[in-house]
């Protein structure tokens, strides 16, 4: 086994620590006003959602429009557990419960629908996420249409940051494993990869479930930050918001998703003072970005691909 303490991993650890310290000092030193802190947490949650969806759409090529449904499962599970145990342990238990339920639901959704292709898959996943929303709306335990409130506020910046880092590591390692390469081959050409002996259904389902579980984590963090949960929050538009981040960042680019979530978050924040025309400008921004940069900010490249040659990882030949 190779040592985990390579120079590369060390550099990344330092980079991550520096980014974290900058934000943490800025927040605890009250250099960032409260409204911006909400924006930072929202961006963080969006990053986790976008990373999960990017694994499904960008790396495995399966067009899912149902991400908000999985997020809502995570959010409601966390909120319900937190009502019994209003502390950090409760949040983690809730998160685990949410992930377990999400994994089961995602499996139920994935096995029949992933036989479908392209737009049909998109519409089927959209249908499932709406069914999840309507189910939540009609259940006793989730508070029906009124939703749940008085959820303890436990999500903090360090917590969100830790989960972003975990998601990046999980997805990055997954797509560089043999399973991940199988997923990418499914995206490139499903028939060809099938004829090479890859169990396409298995890998599509695997990517789908992992992505859904990340959405569930994001949902739990969301629930523990915003006090209230309403079924309408997790409608079709939420899935679209996440999809816009993924496509804007570039499908198949993790750093693209992160950057896109930040950029779109900042656009949203700056437009907040023009509340009346905010959505109009946001819509125009989406159209203009798509018309002039249809491949997204980074295409399928990562941010490290833009570094000078000598810093890049040497391509392994094997």
């Amino acid at each position: 086994m190779k040592s985990q303490f390579t120079k590369r991993n060390l550099i990344w650890t330092i980079v991550v620590c520096v980014i974290f310290s900058i934000f943490q000092i800025a927040i605890s030193g009250r250099m960032i006003p409260n409204t911006y802190q909400v924006a930072i947490i929202t961006i963080g949650i969006n990053i986790i959602l976008a990373l999960g969806l990017n694994l499904i759409i960008g790396f495995t090529g399966q067009f899912s429009l149902g991400h908000a449904g999985f997020m809502s499962i995570g959010a409601y599970s966390a909120a319900i557990v937190l009502a019994k145990m209003p502390n950090l342990t409760g949040l983690f238990v809730g998160m685990l419960v949410g992930m377990a339920i999400t994994a089961v639901v995602a499996l139920i959704v994935a096995i029949p629908t992933l036989r479908l292709r392209g737009d049909y898959l998109a519409i089927a996943t959209l249908g499932f996420s709406e069914v999840i929303r309507i189910a939540i709306q009609n259940m006793e335990i989730t508070g029906g249409a009124a939703g749940l409130s008085n959820i303890p506020k436990l999500t903090t910046f360090p917590l969100v940051f830790v989960f972003i880092v975990i998601s990046v590591i999980v997805i990055h390692n997954f797509i560089r494993s043999s399973h991940g390469r199988a997923c990418i081959s499914v995206r490139e050409d499903e028939i060809a990869s099938e004829s090479m002996g890859i169990n396409t259904t298995k890998y599509k389902t695997l990517a789908f479930v992992i992505g859904a579980m990340l959405a569930s984590i994001a949902g739990a963090l969301y629930a523990a930050y915003f006090y209230v949960l309403k079924p309408t929050t997790f409608g079709f538009m939420k899935s679209i918001d996440i999809l816009v981040i993924v496509v804007f960042g570039g499908m198949g680019s993790l750093s693209g998703s992160i950057l896109a979530a930040i950029v779109l978050g900042i656009i949203n924040l700056t437009l907040q003072s023009y509340s009346e025309i905010r959505m109009i400008l946001y819509a125009l921004a989406i159209i203009v970005i798509m018309v002039y940069r249809p491949q997204g900010l980074f295409g399928s490249k990562e941010v490290t691909d833009f570094l000078p040659k000598k810093w890049q990882k040497k391509k392994e030949v094997d």
């Binding site: 029949p112 479908l116 959209l126 249908g127 309507i134 028939i191 079709f236 109009i280 798509m290």
Partner: protein, 293 residues
């Protein structure tokens, strides 16, 4: 039994609206393989044009509907030229996001100009009368919606099957490159498709404004989604399929709410969609296309 027949009548008129919207989805999908999410908002635009024509201009039902159809037609063609045409060779997900952007733009621009509150058509626009027949109630609105929709669908079918431009539409949807080689102006044909679909959505908007008598800037979202489901249900790209799908979704939805499941009537529609997609993804009237390597 009376409840069933009554809901069937209600369902047929709601279904006609879905069918009219679904036709626009199915034609656009058939020709450029784009789920035009902004189509539901064209329908909303039609409803607002109808509101404007009936209150400010005091027009009657048919002139109002014609005006809405023309304005929606222009809007549809403009949207295609500005937003979709540059992306014709981009990936489908990119065009889809653009369509969502256009949809958001139309919704919130309308909200900015007209305000988010609900508006109603004037009371004398087309006075509602209810006829009772063997215990069943049927209003003149329902008859009007049903008959107008059928006439519009027949007109559409004639245009697509009998005219030269209709032939061009069918050719482009089969193979755009080959159609271009045969001297068909692909751009004009696509614009014409958008014009036809948008006109039908505009007509549907005016009729729903009259039927429910409440319109708001976000009214297009859910019917748009359901109409798309209707198009998939009947077999996307197939014109009679959209009509069939629209009526089927309308009837199923009203039956669900008629039998006391109104809370989950949307879920019923989505579940049916999922079942259809899993059993026969090409839709009720769709043909199975063999996959080639």
């Amino acid at each position: 039994m009376t409840i069933f027949l009554q809901q069937l009548i209600n369902g047929l008129s709601v279904g006609s609206i879905f069918a009219l919207i679904a036709l626009g989805y199915t034609m656009v999908y058939g020709i450029i393989k784009l789920i035009n999410f902004a189509h539901g908002d064209i329908y909303m635009l039609g409803a607002y044009v109808g509101f404007f024509a009936s209150t400010s201009l005091g027009l009657g039902f048919f002139p109002t509907m014609l005006l809405a159809m023309v304005i929606c037609m222009v809007a549809g063609v403009l949207i295609e030229k500005i937003a979709y045409k540059p992306l014709r060779h981009a990936s489908r997900i990119t065009s889809l996001i653009t369509a969502i952007g256009v949809s958001l733009f139309l919704e919130y621009a309308m909200m900015y100009f007209m305000g988010p509150n609900i508006r109603t058509y004037p009371a004398d626009f087309f006075p509602r009368e209810v006829y009772t027949f063997a215990g069943l109630q049927i209003s003149n609105h329902q008859i009007l919606i049903f008959v107008t929709s059928i006439l519009l669908m027949i007109a559409l079918q004639l245009i697509v099957k009998k005219t030269k431009i209709g032939k061009a539409m069918r050719a482009v949807s089969t193979d755009p490159d080959a159609a271009a080689l045969m001297g068909i102006n692909v751009n004009n044909t696509i614009s014409f498709t958008f014009a036809l679909g948008s006109a039908l959505a505009g007509a549907a908007g005016v009729m729903i404004g009259m039927y429910y008598n409440s319109i708001d800037p976000l009214m297009g979202m859910i019917p748009g989604l359901k109409a798309f489901i209707a198009a998939v249900f009947g077999g996307i790209g197939i014109i009679p399929g959209a009509m069939l799908g629209g009526e089927a979704i309308g009837i199923l939805e009203t039956l669900a709410s008629g039998y006391g499941f109104s809370m989950i009537k949307d879920a019923v529609v989505y579940l049916i969609l999922i079942v259809i997609l899993i059993i026969k993804p090409s839709g009720l009237l769709g043909k199975n296309v063999k996959e080639k390597v």
